[in-house]
């Protein structure tokens, strides 16, 4: 300990030979050198090169990123690791760096050094990042993407509907856009998690010629490859699987449409406003997507309806073989959420076409995500007096 005390004494003594100016100047220069070094080191750790110097980063997240639009796109703008994962403002950057030193342990302990270990940890790691995105309302995304600069007109109507709602709330991007730069962990879903926990995320390999029901509202696509959306398939809709290719299935949707506009909306049955699917205008007009059959006039509105069958692609997830668990979840949600202020009316108190008006007219009082709202409305319609003739 003696050497330590000696050093301490020396340091504690006022300078004997150097002027105060020399001391200050050298401290200043040292400061600059130190600071510069620190910053250089910091910046070094903030490069893509540094990030992927670990094998586990290079082999999984980096490879996955290269397959996405954030890596290559027609405008040539690329988002690299730190753009999304390190805050841009200085003090928060430092905080993030300190936080990230935790990863060193992971490296030392070889926590994710194999593909299996990485996959097992993927959900945990992704959740940590999502939480961070949640905390700053997806600021990293918003450094480049801005609700105010979005050109609604160039979006599809369906995208507009979703995005305008999100813009209204200045919603956090990650709420919906998970798994866009790296593979989505196997986690059920971020949408309506309680519902999915109850009904499951569907069959691994849907069988051809079998009928399934959608456990969430799902995007539709033109073919088995493209990411161009052709519409949406509503929740709790019956579809028949016609063909499977990779992660996609081609499904058949039977129903009726109103002969107004482009005929983009497919309903459950003649004269019933129970939504099955909404197609984009292009998809509705595309050769081979919709096959048409007989027409009838609905006496309640005077509108012409036409029986149709659509054949179109969707991802093979969230297709469940049993409808009942969806209805059970919907009934439970309905009786809980809609009895906060008053007794909820019996399902069969209104008919299928009156329910949307009643339900939409009260929804401002209720907390339900969009999938659950759509499910509960469909539940009420399919259990309404139109179907249940036993009620008064």
């Amino acid at each position: 300990m003696k050497w330590f005390i000696n050093i301490w004494r020396t340091l504690n003594k006022p300078a004997k030979f150097l002027t105060l100016g020399t001391v200050s100047l050298s401290a200043f220069l040292m400061g600059i050198i130190f600071w510069g070094g620190f910053n250089t080191a910091l910046e070094m750790t903030n490069t893509e090169e540094f990030c992927i110097s670990c094998h586990s980063m290079e082999s999984k997240p980096y490879q996955e990123l290269q397959e996405t639009v954030h890596w290559s796109n027609h405008s040539g703008v690329r988002a690299t690791c730190p753009d999304c994962h390190v805050p841009h403002n200085w003090s928060r950057k430092i905080g993030r760096k300190i936080e990230a030193s935790h990863d060193m342990w992971g490296w030392l302990l070889q926590t994710v050094n194999t593909s299996e270990k990485f996959e097992a940890k993927r959900l945990e790691m992704a959740s940590r990042e999502w939480k961070r995105f949640d905390r700053d309302n997806s600021l990293a995304c918003k450094n480049c993407h801005n609700y105010d600069s979005m050109k609604w007109d160039s979006m599809s109507k369906l995208a507009q509907k979703q995005m305008k709602r999100a813009a209204k709330l200045d919603q956090s991007c990650i709420d919906c856009h998970k798994g866009i730069a790296h593979k989505l962990p196997d986690m059920g879903t971020s949408r309506a998690p309680e519902l999915i926990a109850q009904v499951g995320s569907g069959e691994n390999t849907p069988q051809s010629e079998q009928t399934y029901f959608t456990a969430l509202t799902k995007p539709l696509f033109y073919n088995d490859k493209t990411d161009v959306e052709a519409g949406t398939l509503n929740i709790a809709t019956k579809v028949k699987v016609l063909e499977t290719k990779g992660n996609r299935v081609k499904v058949g949707i039977d129903g009726w449409r109103k002969k107004i506009g482009a005929g983009r909306v497919i309903y459950y049955d003649f004269g019933l406003n129970i939504l099955s699917a909404q197609l984009t205008k292009d998809a509705a007009l595309e050769e081979g997507v919709i096959e048409t059959f007989e027409e009838k006039e609905d006496p309640m509105t005077g509108l012409k309806w036409q029986r149709v069958e659509a054949q179109i692609w969707t991802d093979k997830d969230y297709l469940v073989s049993d409808l009942q668990p969806l209805w059970d979840y919907a009934r439970d949600t309905y009786t809980t959420s809609c009895s906060v202020c008053h007794t909820q009316p019996d399902e069969a108190h209104f008919d299928a076409n009156t329910w949307p008006g009643m339900f939409q007219g009260m929804i401002a009082f209720v907390n339900m995500d969009q999938d659950t709202q759509a499910l509960v409305q469909k539940y009420l319609q399919e259990h309404s007096s139109t179907f249940d003739k036993t009620s008064h």
């Binding site: 939480k131 949640d134 905390r135 109507k157 369906l158 507009q160 509907k161 305008k164 813009a167 209204k168 709330l169 200045d170 919603q171 956090s172 990650i174 709420d175 109103k258 107004i260 506009g261 482009a262 983009r264 909306v265 406003n273 909404q278 609905d298 006496p299 309640m300 509105t301 005077g302 509108l303 439970d332 009786t335 809980t336 959420s337 009895s339 906060v340 202020c341 008053h342 007794t343 909820q344 009316p345 019996d346 108190h349 008919d351 076409n353 009156t354 329910w355 949307p356 008006g357 009643m358 339900f359 939409q360 007219g361 009260m362 929804i363 401002a364 009082f365 907390n367 007096s385 008064h392």
Partner: protein, 830 residues
């Protein structure tokens, strides 16, 4: 039964009236019961807003508005009186003859206000025995526990949830559909605009202030009605009304209030008023529509693209179908509005951006569906539905509608329904061929004519034979019409149970009365702003429950214990467990979107703020793409003509909006030769319905000789020799009441106003409280529903028609009875 028999009945029952020594215990005596809590400032809220309250020596000492409340209501001065007032229900009490004879009691005595104090244990066992008897003898159709109302705020102690969960654990019962406030509107509008509209979020005020050129307030008084809300009210709408006032002053927005009377809003905004004869609004709208068509002012493109059936309405408008063209001249005859003004209105409403804002009063009249439908047709003809600052709304006077919503999730509530795995003790669902759900305002008819079948909203309803009613936090002896008819009906009931904090008239006509504590005597949680969802409010207990009152949670937990179902009722959770669960569930629902601290921090702070919302336009998505975003109507479009309604074949609600004469209408209408004056009984300015009428000192700031004010025109006053401050008797063939005259030139000739919510206080000819049981008894305080008509709006909604009511009035000359509405029952011992 005549009066002589009635008095004999009084004499033959042996009882002692207790001297009213402790009617209102002094505050310091009450302090003892609140001594457990520490003094200091706490946070809480109510329908009247959020507050900071100071507790001193165990009593509520001061009430001041919550920091965020920039426009607190004057009613804050009545809050203390809700807790400390002589009308508090202090103990469980049972009606004298019911205690003696149970279900075989002499029900003509009901309302004589003689009650006997019993223990909680006795009262809860009586309740259980009565339910047993009714379920055994009559089954579920004998019990109606579905009538619910405005309760007190708080998601955990919501009184109607507790009552229905507990009673539902015992057995099934008759329920209601609809409500008194918006019964006709919420039934017709889903067919026309695809949603109830009355309870839907509306276009945000900032957009209206920015975009509107003209605002039509049709029978709408937001400045009065926005003082209260379904949850803790933020009063944020008042900031927008202040901006509107400024814009009116600068001539930037023209606001026209179409109303027979000068409203509080009109006075505040300094805007224009257009007088219209009461109940003739549909005729006025038709006149405007006729002018629009004649001058081609209507938006044919919008009608074509967004609505159905205008072509089937046009022949009626033009008179081709019934031989009467609905010209401005035709409308003028009925409405008292000159043809020139009607023509001008058509021009004004179609020039620039026009926002129509409908109040709820005009749908609480016979054919109340029609003005809402016709107003929607006018808005369709103007063609601005879905544009910011244009179109039509039916709720901008209600509970922060129009204040941009934060988008956060609000806390849920204690469950109203039985848990999935639970079965009632009496599980029969045999309603004996009668309906299990009846339109809300038809229950008195059902009691009087069981088995009768009526039309309602496209189906048939058969009235159940109701023998027992249970109410909690609900006062139908305020909101239902025609007191003397109600008295007759109640004589047919075997048992009536009411849980309340104060001796409302519903308690007076009950057999078992249980004391609930007030909002300020329990811990709870609420959303701040029903539609704004501005934050989460802690409702911290100010004082311990007064007297023997208990929280709703405690009352029904004890009742569940009597049924042997305590654990099933509470799920084995304490009051505090539930509070934390409601908070944590809400926190989970907001996870990732809105930060909420842990429960302990929240409770300490008293509030979580969710921030501001973004402006929004109603029906903009529909306007944008009606195919992808259809309305909830049968066609998905606005239905000017509804085939669905037409095929019901109702004479009083045909397939398109129609002007129909009323059974009673002033200003030359039917019945006006006998009773020439129209009485409006709108929502009060200084109460929430009947809540706060019991707040004594506050009530005394507006009563006249201790009575509810009746507002009347100088012309009518002079004609009857009445001066401001006189006692006035208001009467018709249905009843009579005393009220205090307030002569005001805000009221036109032939129109009077008595605010609903004035506590019913019947007295016998001798002025006694006991005599109040008699049919035809005078109301000593001035409850307008002593005089209103109990008929359905139409076969469609079967909603209440309080506004179709004619009366006469004169200066009261008789012996002046004491007001019998307050101070509780005639306490009796046996």
């Amino acid at each position: 039964m005549n009066r002589r028999d009635f008095l004999k009945g009084l004499v033959s029952t042996s009882y002692v009236v207790l001297s009213g020594a402790s009617v209102l215990a002094p505050l310091n005596a009450l302090a003892a019961s609140g001594a457990k809590s520490k003094d200091g400032w706490l946070t809480t809220g109510s329908h009247f807003g959020a507050f900071k309250m100071k507790r001193k020596n165990g009593v509520i000492d001061q009430v001041k508005p919550f920091d965020l409340d920039k426009y607190p209501t004057d009613m804050i001065n009545g809050i203390k009186g809700l807790v400390y007032n002589p009308s508090r229900v202090r103990y469980p009490m049972v009606r004298l003859d019911f205690l003696l004879k149970g279900h075989k009691s002499d029900t003509t005595q009901r309302g004589d206000f003689r009650f006997v104090r019993v223990t909680w244990d006795k009262a809860l066992h009586l309740l259980k025995d009565s339910l047993d008897e009714v379920q055994t003898k009559y089954g579920p159709s004998g019990l109606h526990a579905g009538q619910t109302g405005w309760r007190a705020t708080g998601q955990l102690h919501s009184s109607t949830s507790h009552m229905q969960r507990a009673i539902g654990m015992h057995g099934n019962f008759v329920k209601k559909v609809g409500d008194y406030s918006t019964g006709a509107g919420q039934t017709i509008l889903p067919y026309i605009l695809g949603s109830t509209e009355v309870y839907a979020q509306g276009t945000s005020w900032p957009l209206i202030l920015e975009e509107s050129n003209t605002i039509i307030l049709w029978s709408n008084d937001p400045y009065k009605n926005l003082q209260v809300g379904w949850n803790a009210e933020t009063h944020e709408s008042f900031a927008y009304l202040a901006q509107l006032k400024e814009k009116v002053k600068q001539g930037k927005i023209r606001v026209i209030s179409i109303d027979p009377v000068v409203t509080k809003t009109q006075k505040y905004l300094g805007c224009e008023q257009l007088y219209v004869n009461p109940q003739t609004d549909v005729a006025l709208m038709l006149g405007i529509a006729h002018e629009m068509v004649t001058k081609k002012l209507h938006d044919e493109k919008f009608i074509e693209g967004y609505s159905l059936g205008f072509d089937r309405f046009l022949p009626y408008l033009l008179g081709e179908s019934d031989g009467v063209a609905k010209t401005p001249e035709w409308a003028s005859e009925i409405t008292g509005v000159s043809p020139e003004i009607i023509r001008d209105l058509a021009k004004v409403m179609t020039k620039g951006r026009t926002q129509m804002m409908m109040g709820w009063c005009i749908q609480r009249q016979q054919h109340g569906e029609q003005p809402y439908w016709m107003a929607a047709v006018l808005a369709t003809m103007i063609g601005q539905i879905g544009l910011p600052g244009g179109g039509i709304s039916y709720g901008h006077h209600y509970s922060s509608i129009g204040v941009p919503s934060s988008g956060a999730a609000a806390p849920g509530a204690f469950p109203r329904n039985l848990d999935e795995d639970q079965k009632p003790l009496f599980d029969s669902n045999d309603f004996k061929g009668a309906s299990s759900t009846i339109p809300v305002a038809r229950w008195i008819d059902a009691i009087m004519e069981p088995g009768k079948t009526i039309d309602a909203n496209g189906s048939k309803v058969t009235y159940p034979d109701i023998k027992m009613m249970v109410f909690s936090g609900n006062n139908p002896w305020n909101h239902h019409q025609d007191r003397n008819k109600m008295k007759q009906a109640f004589q047919k009931l075997e048992c009536v149970v009411t849980i309340d904090m104060n001796w409302t008239a519903t308690c007076r006509f009950s057999d078992i009365v249980l004391p609930a504590c007030t909002t300020f005597e329990r811990n709870d949680i609420d959303v701040y702003g029903s539609y704004a969802n501005r934050g989460i409010l802690a409702m911290q207990k100010m004082v311990e429950p007064l007297f023997e009152s208990l929280s709703d949670f405690e009352i029904f937990t004890r009742f569940a214990a009597v049924m042997g179902k305590e654990k099933a009722y509470t799920r084995g959770m304490t009051e505090k467990d539930w509070l934390i669960k409601l908070y944590d569930d809400c926190k989970a629902a907001n996870a990732g979107k809105f930060d909420m601290p842990d429960f302990e921090s929240f409770w300490k702070e008293g509030y979580v703020h969710f921030g501001e919302g973004k402006p929004w336009t109603r029906h903009a998505d529909f306007r944008d793409d009606p195919e992808i975003n259809p309305l909830g109507t049968p066609s998905g479009l606005i239905e000017v003509f509804s085939r669905k309604i037409a095929q019901f074949n109702y004479d009083d609600c045909p397939g398109h909006p129609t002007w129909m004469e009323k059974t009673e209408r002033s200003h030359g209408g039917p019945g006006s030769d006998k009773f020439p004056v129209w009485m409006q009984s709108c929502h009060p300015d200084k109460r929430l319905h009947s809540q706060m009428c019991e707040s004594k000192e506050y009530r005394e700031t507006y009563t006249v000789q201790g009575r509810e004010p009746v507002y009347l025109s100088p012309v009518d006053a002079k004609k009857r020799g009445i001066k401001d401050g006189d006692l006035v008797r208001v009467f018709n063939d249905r009843g009579q009441l005393l009220a205090g005259a307030v002569v005001s030139d805000s009221f036109p000739q032939g129109v009077i106003r008595i605010h609903e919510g004035a506590w019913y206080g019947p007295v016998g000819e001798d002025g006694s409280k006991e005599g109040g049981a008699e049919i035809g008894a005078l109301c000593s305080y001035g409850d307008p529903n002593t005089l209103t008509q109990d008929i359905g709006t139409s076969k469609l909604a079967q909603a209440c028609s309080a506004y179709t009511c004619l009366v006469e009035f004169d200066k009261y000359q008789g012996k002046v009875p004491e007001v019998s509405s307050f101070n509780g029952p005639v306490e009796t011992q046996i």
